[in-house]
């Protein structure tokens, strides 16, 4: 590091020698690793074959959800007879049923979207404030609490599942006994997203890494300008950490959309169900194996609706998914 006023001083001999060396490695790095055109072509062919293998289940799902009842499993690439299985008039029993008529599927999708959105928003900002505190402040017991935080990531959710359920059960009875309070508890959607307003260990860890990468001078400068700690966090830390916040947001959206066990524990009324739980119920109802009615096209259409929002989410935030996952592994 040069001190002020030395920027234009002649470069020491050692440094002058080093510069071409780095340039050379840079150029060499671009040439390697050697790969002939033949090998390259073989690689591409193998990857195309694997891509077909990876994409085929999706194609199969899309095709199956547009096939009429009875042809769902004919495994043709395109439906022999196109059928719209999502919505329409329900005919009496021997005819195929339509997805939106047999269950409140639209309701489930909206429930899931709303819960995911609430949970992701809450966890993003709360985790950011906690992560910022762990990255910026020096306070007694900081390392102890950070160790505790890391340890909670290893804890299987099954250990706390039962007492937390009983806690929500208690809260539910309490709020029912006091009609002034809104009904919060088992068989409401609050247990699905409320825990997120306390932040989440994994995202706190992820965001802390990010905050540590922001030069401390920025914060000191804000303090000099007379910012309070909170406005420094809001004006400097949050905008700079935007990529980490987006990663948190999309990861939590995905996590809530994936979650099956929590709605399974807490929800009883069909109107409150989330999309994954609803699709599981549809499967139980229409799968012939379990004594269902055999309208497989409804299951397929529902599963397609369950998959589609995640594909759209990935398409919109691909960069953040890849970056978020890649940084996960870097903590070693």
């Amino acid at each position: 590091m040069t001190t002020v006023g030395q920027e234009n001083a002649p470069v020491p001999a050692a440094a002058a020698v080093r510069i071409p060396e780095t340039v050379q490695t840079q150029r060499r790095r671009l040439r390697l690793p050697p790969l002939s055109w033949l090998t390259f072509a073989i690689f591409i062919l193998v990857m195309i074959a694997l891509s077909i293998l990876f994409l085929y289940p999706f194609e199969w799902l899309i095709a199956a959800s547009f096939k009429p009842r009875g042809e769902t499993f004919d495994n043709t690439f395109l439906p022999q007879h196109w059928a719209w299985n999502f919505t329409g008039k329900n005919l009496p029993s021997p005819y195929p049923q339509k997805l939106f008529n047999v269950a409140p599927v639209a309701r489930w999708m909206i429930n899931s979207l709303w819960i995911s959105f609430l949970a992701a928003t809450a966890t993003t900002f709360v985790s950011a404030s906690v992560a910022f505190a762990f990255a910026y402040f020096r306070f007694p017991l900081r390392n102890f609490f950070f160790g505790v935080l890391l340890a909670t990531m290893m804890l299987p959710g099954e250990v706390t599942m039962i007492p937390v359920y009983l806690l929500w059960n208690k809260i539910g009875h309490f709020t029912l006994d006091h009609p002034v309070l809104p009904h919060i508890g088992v068989n409401t959607q609050y247990p699905l997203w409320m825990p997120n307003i306390f932040g989440s260990a994994f995202y706190i860890f992820l965001q802390r890494q990010f905050f540590l990468g922001i030069p401390r001078d920025y914060f000191e400068a804000a303090r000099m300008d007379g910012d309070s700690y909170f406005s420094m966090f809001r004006r400097i830390a949050l905008p700079l950490a935007k990529p980490a916040l987006i990663v948190t947001f999309v990861f939590e959206l995905q996590a809530k959309w994936f979650d099956l066990i929590t709605p399974l524990i807490y929800l009883r009324d069909q109107a409150l169900f989330t999309a994954p739980l609803g699709m599981k119920i549809l499967l139980d109802r229409f799968n012939n194996v379990g004594g269902g009615e055999g309208d497989y096209q409804v299951i397929m259409a529902g599963t397609l609706l369950l998959v589609l929002p995640m594909v759209i989410l990935f398409a919109a935030f691909q960069k953040y998914f890849i970056r978020g996952i890649a940084t996960q592994g870097r903590k070693g």
Binding site: T25, V126, R142, Y165, I197, L260, K280
Partner: protein, 327 residues
Amino acid sequence: MASVAATTKTTAPGPSRARRWFRGFRERETWVAYLFISPWLFGFIVLTFGPMLFSLYYSFTNYGLQQIAGLEPTKSVGFKNYHQLITDPKVTASLKNTFTYTVMMVPGRIIFALFLAMMLHRIGRWAKTSGVFRTIFYLPHMTPPVAIGVMLIFLFNGRVGIVNKGLSFIGIQGPYWTTDPSWIKPSIALMDIWSCGGTMVILLAALYAVPQQLYEAAAMDGAPGWRRFKDITLPMISPALFFSFIILTLYGLQQFAQAYTAYFGAGGTQPEAALMFSVYLFRNAFEYFNLGFASAMAWLLFAISMVVTLINIGVSRRFVFYQGSQR
């Protein structure tokens, strides 16, 4: 990572370490910091630490439906629930299922992910197509577990499933995946290998971080491809491999959603071969309401996860190579 010790360590003569440490609580910055972390602290006490203690307590009681409703008092039953863990044949069976599945899934997923990542890495510098392939290979990772469970029972259906149709093309008579007890777990593991995109991206990032000079030096020495792989690539990406290994093992031990969707619930065939430990735990807790016994199961799962992770860490000391200063 500047520690508390670093802030309290002092060379100048002054108050003792403990004094200075306690004085930290008088500083305004400390209180602001605690205010910032207070949501997590509160959540940790109410939703993690408290429930852990309660769960431990319940595991020594007969807590069940009557006790929730307040009709009967909670009675201590000593180690009965833990003894039942040994005597209940379904616990043994579900543990065996979970281990079998994990042992198939984790190496399968890591090896396949590594294969994909290395291919992407090799063509990465030549072609923008690498990004397209990466997207395709990552896509299954965005499929919700419930959707994977649904696709599992239909894709792997012994009679009409596309997997067996595909196998018959190359002259193999596919097994009855979803009904044959010995093929149920491989089919769940295969679906997990299909969604190996997350592991692949972690390994791909690790591959890009390997300094290319090492390969140059190896090429100059005339080291063949597999030597370069064994002696450069594997040691350099071993932290990422190890991380994936631990995470996937924990994920495997907690497998619930795919197995539950495909085989349990109201319309499932309930085969014992698909009874994962978490599924049996869930059924005990929220279908039979044996909450005491389920708590004991949860602590067994916790203990197993800890032991497996500690063994992994112990083994990793021998194989994982951490670069000194470079990250």
